[in-house]
Symmetry: C2
Subunit: 343 residues, 2 copies
DNA sequence: TTGAAAGCGATACCAC
DNA sequence: GTGGTATCGCTTTCAA
């Protein structure tokens, strides 16, 4: 708090020659106040720059108006966080600010205890979970204890849970549809590490299901690598794919940054995008613009998701009695210059 | 707050058959409590999973234990935020968590009023400012009103202010020293837009001073472009530089992402990095690894800066009476594969 | 060593 | 319309 004199509602009351109750009524826009009184009090308030003490209001109200985002410092498989995650954060922060909630970031690893304590000690009213697993102890714990929260991502069993998630399965399918529509048949798929699927990490699982569906739908021959996002891994996997199937004409990647590295790998083999190989990814628009050529991609609207998630959380907190909300983002194909018709 | 029954200190007192005061003493680790009493009470606390109500504690204490980072949604010149800024955020969040402060992100534009109100309404105890200008009304306002804050960046007049900043001037100088040491003489400089310098934006100003110093130190001929960070702008500027001075053998850039685009521009003219042109930037290590080849760069340790900034803020809040702290990060050259000896 | 009670700054119920 | 007062959950004198 600043060192300048800070006023209380009692000061205002005294200066205006009214009672605290009256000032409180005015602060809260109640109607049963004489206009003259209201004017006088508001005059004083403006004069001394009084602002009600938020902590006190909230103690009284039994709410904190604090929301938090549980931010995973490392993604599963130790992928360092990427720009996508900033977008989640900023979207969430924007939605919170709009409704006058303070929005905090929790980056320390949580335990059962520390998670529950956030609620028990009234540090927050609710929180947003990211990097959700098919079986996620955090979701189970919070659900069992009736702690308000929403997820970016989803579990296997979402009974009673609120979430917003990308429809990765359809996203991958959409990418393949686009390529097949351009005449491609020999299409390689770069997915997340198989290990992540086994751990039940949503994006990995759903993307893989999308891949299987795409293979079936279009009767394509399997051709894929499951790999991490490091530059080195992406490059190696791409080269392997080229060795395995030198005739491949297109690549689908689910990695946020991968295309930059895929392009490099292709160059090594003397291939240019999109003339000698089409390339499409699931990524954020901002990243898509960075690469050269700009990437055709299925959008990953992280900012909007963070924003929506917090709105959903606030709805839930304000007692909107609606049953759990499950929001699934449909894929949105953005065509740039990294894909071209075959031939 | 969760819907589960939530206990108060009075519940604990009742269950343990002692007074509220006693429980409070135990919670606060006071020593004048009979061991037997202490044990019994702690037993109860553990049993029911009681956690003191943070809001109430803080109201009582007159502190919020909330810190905030004023996050600029757009950099000056409308550069969209970049990964560096995530690092600031995460570093700051980590430091706050360590000291048990809640850390919030404020992304809405602030006015004089809203800024002061954060303190007046006891939403926060202090804040971190980013994107600081040479003459920054926010810093002036907060200083005049004795509101605790620290800056990432600095003003022209830092009397009474706390900050941590990169020494951009030395950073640029270091980059030039490295290149000159490798035998380069025809070195181009890619700086921030001149407009930003005129607006007194720190990094732009100090980087430019570093450039001027480097020219003088090594008696180099001026060769530069001042440009925005968009892919298009960087590419165009690079091509212009190549046209102006086809013999240039090295480029220094202060743009976070630029190297990716500079490399592309060079390729267009049939030049490879580092064989046909050396390239060095001021950037975060994570970004440096992304490019191909990995970039030689002067490190921009954003995470550490965010971390330090919050530590400094907390020191200030906890009444460490030290005079204002001015921390300047010395340049740290990280040699990778984008620079090579001339010839 | 322990307990009673005042108070942090606001809100809301109940009289007048 | 307005004011008095209990209350939110906790900490801290002050007495006992």
């Amino acid at each position: 708090m600043s060192d300048q004199p800070t006023y209380t509602i009692a000061d205002v009351a005294r200066l205006a020659g009214v009672s605290v109750s009256t000032v409180s009524r005015i602060l809260n826009g109640k109607h049963d106040v004489a206009p003259a009184t209201r004017d006088r009090v508001q005059q004083i308030i403006a004069e001394i720059g009084f602002k009600p003490h938020a902590q006190a209001q909230r103690l009284r109200a039994g709410k904190t108006r604090n929301l938090a985002l549980l931010f995973p410092l490392k993604s599963p498989g130790n992928i360092p966080y990427n720009p996508l995650e900033v977008d989640f954060i900023l979207g969430a922060a924007a939605a919170a600010a709009e409704k006058d909630f303070l929005f905090s970031l929790i980056t320390t690893p949580v335990t059962k205890q520390s998670l529950l304590n956030l609620y028990r000690s009234a540090q927050i009213d609710g929180l947003v979970l990211m990097q959700v697993y098919a079986h996620d102890w955090r979701a189970d714990l919070l659900r069992n204890n009736n702690c308000p929260f929403v997820m970016i991502g989803r579990c296997d069993d979402n009974t009673g849970l609120n979430f917003i998630d990308i429809d990765f399965e359809s996203a991958v399918q959409t990418a393949f549809d686009h390529l097949v529509g351009l005449g491609h048949r020999k299409i390689a798929f770069l997915g997340q590490p198989a290990e992540m699927r086994k751990h039940g990490w949503g994006p990995a699982t759903h993307a893989w299901q999308g891949y299987e569906r795409a293979l079936a739908t279009h009767s394509l021959a399997p051709l894929y690598r499951e790999t991490g996002s490091q530059r080195r891994e992406i490059i190696d996997s791409t080269l392997e794919l080229l060795d395995e199937q030198p005739d491949l004409t297109a690549i689908v990647s689910v990695h946020e940054f991968a295309p930059l590295s895929v392009i490099q790998a292709l160059k090594k083999r003397g291939r240019n995008v999109p003339d000698d190989c089409s390339l499409i990814a699931i990524m954020n628009e901002r990243i898509g613009e960075l690469s050269s050529p700009p990437m055709t991609h299925v959008d990953f609207p992280a900012h909007a998701m963070g924003y929506e998630a917090v709105q959903m959380l606030i709805r839930r907190l304000e007692g909107d009695p609606a049953s759990p909300e499950h929001i699934m983002i449909p894929p949105r194909l953005i065509i740039r210059n990294s894909t071209a018709p075959l031939g």
